[in-house]
């Protein structure tokens, strides 16, 4: 056998054997190796027990801001000084794919507030999330949350039952107008059928629930038990929409029902509306209570009213503190707090001011309620101290 022939035989043997041996061996799956490696390197920590935070004795006083978390802390502290009571729930917004901001969230926690991440899947479709296209991003985020070992309220894809976000409900290009309710005519342009007519997105309620469960499973897989899962529908439930229950991933996937609902300026402006709380939150809460008993947090609220803002503040506090009286189908303690969206922003081409302090009378009323022991004693607490007292 000549050398060159020997070389050929050797080379073929080597290449062939390698190809065959490597074929189907799970040990050689490089992607799986790297995915598992991140988890395998996690160190054991004394896990934070968040049970007391899910149903605390006192109510959460929350604020939501745009911009950075640090600026939120600053504005939350300023607002707390103005009204004479520190707030203990700070909501911020971020997009899926960004890292968990451990240092900033720890600063929120150290400042005496529970960080509340409102995570927006601006990229990709719900089906992408179900199919696992963003699993790596979510897994990295979940690992960082777990490693931080501080409590985190986490809401993914809030206001999913509205048409205005990329993950919001919109199916069959709006051809489902009045689905199931053929005798009812579309009321206005907010009607989901009209609103998403011509939209290319195809998001069903079942898609949202499945995507939520998929994301929850990833958090569970890495062992992130320090998360309060906040499922956040909007009060704008228009005709032609699927039932709220269809959006709901199930009690085992949710800790809080977080409702977004705003007290808007009527036309013409009025000075009072004693039924505003019932009118904004009542229908949705009744619907939700038909299939879940989970605690409710008003995850986003605010008032754009001018003359009525102080009254809105009073009605909100009354609704929160006396929920059973305001909405008889609720039980005492069902609502565990609220988050005031304290922002002035441009929305649909119009500048709207949700801030309490935009109306001095509203700020005064807010402060007055907090300073009245009968009410104020039940509002606000230090979540860190609550846990440390264990």
């Amino acid at each position: 056998m000549t050398l060159s022939r020997g070389l050929r035989v050797a080379a073929f043997t080597l290449a062939g054997a390698l190809a065959l041996a490597a074929c189907g061996d799970p040990a050689l799956d490089r992607d799986a190796y790297h995915a598992a490696e991140k988890v395998g390197e996690l160190k054991a920590v004394d896990p934070v027990d968040i049970r007391k935070l899910i149903h605390p004795e006192n109510e959460y006083l929350g604020l939501a801001y745009d911009n950075t978390i640090d600026s939120g802390i600053e504005r939350m502290n300023e607002f707390g000084e103005k009204v004479g009571k520190p707030h203990n729930l700070l909501k911020y917004f971020e997009e899926v794919g960004s890292d968990f901001k451990e240092k900033e969230n720890k600063r929120v926690w150290e400042a005496g507030a529970l960080p509340f991440a409102d995570v927006e899947p601006m990229e990709g479709t719900l089906k992408d999330y179900i199919d696992g296209k963003y699993d790596d991003d979510i897994r990295s985020y979940a690992i960082e949350v777990k490693e931080s070992n501080i409590p985190l309220a986490y809401s993914w894809g809030h206001e999913m039952n509205g048409w205005w976000y990329p993950w919001g409900f919109c199916s069959r290009g709006g051809t489902h107008i009045n689905a199931g309710k053929p005798n009812e005519k579309p009321r206005d342009e907010e009607d989901i059928g009209i609103a998403c007519q011509g939209e290319s997105k195809e998001n069903t309620a079942e898609d949202f629930a499945a995507a939520w469960r998929h994301i929850h499973d990833i958090f569970t897989e890495v062992g992130a038990g320090n998360v309060i899962w906040v499922w956040s529908p909007n009060t704008a439930q228009s005709p032609g929409m699927p039932a709220m229950k269809d959006f709901y991933p199930g009690d085992e996937y949710v800790d809080w029902i977080g409702i977004s609902g705003y007290m808007n300026e009527p036309n013409p402006p009025t000075k009072k509306d004693s039924k505003i709380f019932q009118n904004v939150f009542g229908d949705l809460l009744r619907d939700l209570r038909s299939f879940t008993k989970k605690p409710v947090v008003i995850a986003e609220t605010g008032s754009t009213a001018t003359l009525r803002k102080a009254d809105d503040v009073v009605n909100l506090f009354a609704g929160i503190l006396f929920e059973k009286k305001t909405l008889p189908f609720l039980r005492k303690g069902d609502i565990v707090g609220f988050v005031w969206f304290d922002v002035k922003k441009e929305e649909f081409g119009e500048v709207v001011d949700f801030r309490v302090e935009s109306q001095p009378a509203a700020l005064k009323k807010y402060k007055q309620i907090l300073q009245t022991p009968k009410y104020g004693n039940h509002l606000g607490f230090d979540p860190k101290q609550l846990i440390d007292d264990n």
Binding site: G6, T13, L20, G24, P26, D29
Partner: protein, 526 residues
């Protein structure tokens, strides 16, 4: 034996110099000769440029390289970290659950002593030493049968193979049994043309290998064939019979012992044949491809080096084929042999090390033949070495993660359990080994099917019987799944945390569930 030849090309100093010519004045210049004796001496040229035999320098250089390989093997085994595997727990005192069925009580007795002195790490270190010594013996017999180059290639290929690395990191009886088997082969090769005693001693050593691990019996026919072959080549038929007698008797005794010891044992189910073949193919496919290449090349041509063998004639092709068969056959038949091997837990692939040990010498021949004479194709050797190393590292790491790492869950649980409390877990015995605050009376194992199975457990959870539940996900049994469903379903419990771990490259989690708190509120009356 040193047959190195030195050739001195320096001028011969000290030798009697030829007498200087006297200048003959009387002779005319035209008759004077200009041819003079050279001032140096040219020795006789040797017939070959290399020494055919072993030289001391070559031997020491090879041993130096071997030391590097053994060190590498030790390091590659040492890098594998995980908590005690179910198979290891079988060998450790206080943690034996059920009968130790893969061998006699000899290894557990050895492990007890080491465990008492140095703990689990000490017993694993012992295995690493056994495996490194086995590689050393492999080098020794491959060198004696062929040459250093083959010895180093064989040791190199075996030292980075996944089963070698895993067995070197497991506190099980396999490593000791494999070392004893290697000792038997080494003694056989040592006695090939020399004294009789190593061949006689090989018998008891082989018998001991079977006593330590019953399945070592399957590899004794190869050793028996080997003793016949090497004795026949170097001695007479009568001598060969004498030399094979000890091993023959040892084989018969081992076979009887195996049957007696394993009869009546209720061993776990062995993996399916397709799985055995797939695992064997993935783990030894490349290794054996080199071995088969080596066999083909060796049967075609006996000469192993660049120089003729000298006085010793080449063995016949039939002898060479039989030698290759003796070495390669157990590895080729490994899946079938492993079918009859009692395995504790799911770790059956490290058992391929026995076949790999015997096959390694021929694999070494294959590697040497690929590289060619005069290191004609070193790139092939480098490619083969890199491929074997990469496969061995990836596969051994994967295999060593095929049972959960219980250390993290044990640390977390130590902080959660209290003196009074009732706890439920898939199998608390697994992590109890690593816990400091473990009290067996507080724990209930789902694996023991308490409360009359799934329905009873669900009812117990609805009542909140257990203060804490540890469950592995994905679950492994219907009872576990029922428990997990119940935990999530009614809100009585909540996941405190999950402690993830790797199973191979899959992620599994030990979830810790604790009782949820009843809703409280300080709100004014409504």
């Amino acid at each position: 034996m040193t047959t190195e030849t030195s050739f001195d090309i320096r001028p011969d100093r000290g030798r009697p110099q030829p007498p200087r010519r006297q200048k003959q004045q009387e002779e005319p210049n035209k008759y004077r000769s200009n041819v003079r004796a050279a001032p140096y001496h040219i020795p006789t040229a040797p017939p070959i440029a290399w020494a055919p035999g072993n030289s001391a320098r070559r031997a020491w250089l090879s041993r130096f390289v071997l030391m590097g390989l053994l060190l590498l093997q030790g390091l590659l085994s040492f890098r594998l970290t995980n908590s005690a595997s179910p198979g290891e727990l079988q060998t450790l005192p206080d943690f034996r659950t059920g009968e130790f069925f893969t061998g006699s009580g000899l290894y557990p007795a050895v492990a007890d002593v080491m465990y008492g002195a140095l703990g689990l790490g000490g017993v694993r270190f012992l295995s690493m030493i056994f495996m490194v010594c086995a590689t050393g013996l492999l080098y020794s017999w491959s060198t004696r049968l062929f040459n250093e180059r083959v010895g180093l290639s064989a040791a190199g290929a075996f030292s980075v193979a996944a089963p070698t690395l895993v067995l070197g990191a497991l506190a099980t009886e396999d490593a000791l049994s494999l070392l004893l088997l290697a000792g038997a082969v080494w003694l056989v090769v040592l006695s090939r043309s020399g004294p009789l005693w190593p061949a006689i001693a090989a018998g008891p050593v082989a018998l001991l290998a079977v006593v330590v691990k019953y399945a070592a019996l399957f590899y004794l026919p190869s050793v028996l064939l080997l003793v016949v072959l090497v004795s026949l080549r170097h001695t007479s038929v009568a001598q060969a019979m004498v030399r094979a007698a000890s091993l023959g008797v040892a084989f018969l005794i081992s076979a009887v012992y195996y049957m007696v010891a394993t009869s009546g044992l209720t061993t776990p189910e062995t993996p399916e044949l397709t799985e055995l073949f797939r695992g064997w193919f993935n783990w030894l496919g490349l290794f054996l491809a080199f071995g088969i290449f080596g066999m083909v090349m060796y049967v075609r041509r006996a000469r192993m080096g660049e120089v003729p063998n000298g006085a010793s004639p080449d063995p016949s092709p039939v002898w060479r084929l039989l030698l290759c068969t003796a070495f390669l056959l157990p590895a080729l038949l490994s899946p079938l042999l492993l079918m009859a091997t009692p395995v504790s837990g799911t770790l059956w692939r490290p058992g391929l090390a026995f076949g790999a040990l015997l096959a390694a010498a021929i694999v070494g021949v294959g590697l040497v033949r690929m590289i060619g004479a005069h290191f004609r194709f070193p790139q092939i050797g480098i490619m083969a070495a890199v491929a074997l190393l990469a496969l061995g590292m990836a596969q051994s790491e994967y295999e060593y993660k095929l049972w959960p790492d219980y250390e993290n869950i044990a640390k977390v649980l130590d902080g959660e359990v209290a003196d009074k409390g009732s706890y439920l877990a898939s199998d608390p015995r697994t992590f109890s080994f690593h816990m400091e605050n473990y009290e067996s009376s507080q724990w209930t194992a789902i694996a023991d099917k308490p409360m009359n199975g799934a329905t009873g457990l669900e009812a117990a959870l609805r009542k909140g019987t257990y203060d804490l539940v540890v469950i592995e996900t994905p679950t492994r049994s219907d009872e576990e799944q029922a428990v997990l469903d119940q935990l999530a379903k009614e809100g009585r419990y909540r996941m405190l945390t999950g402690v993830p771990f790797q199973l191979g490259w899959d992620i599994h989690t030990h979830q810790i569930w604790i009782k949820n708190l009843a809703p409280v509120t300080s709100k004014p009356g409504q």
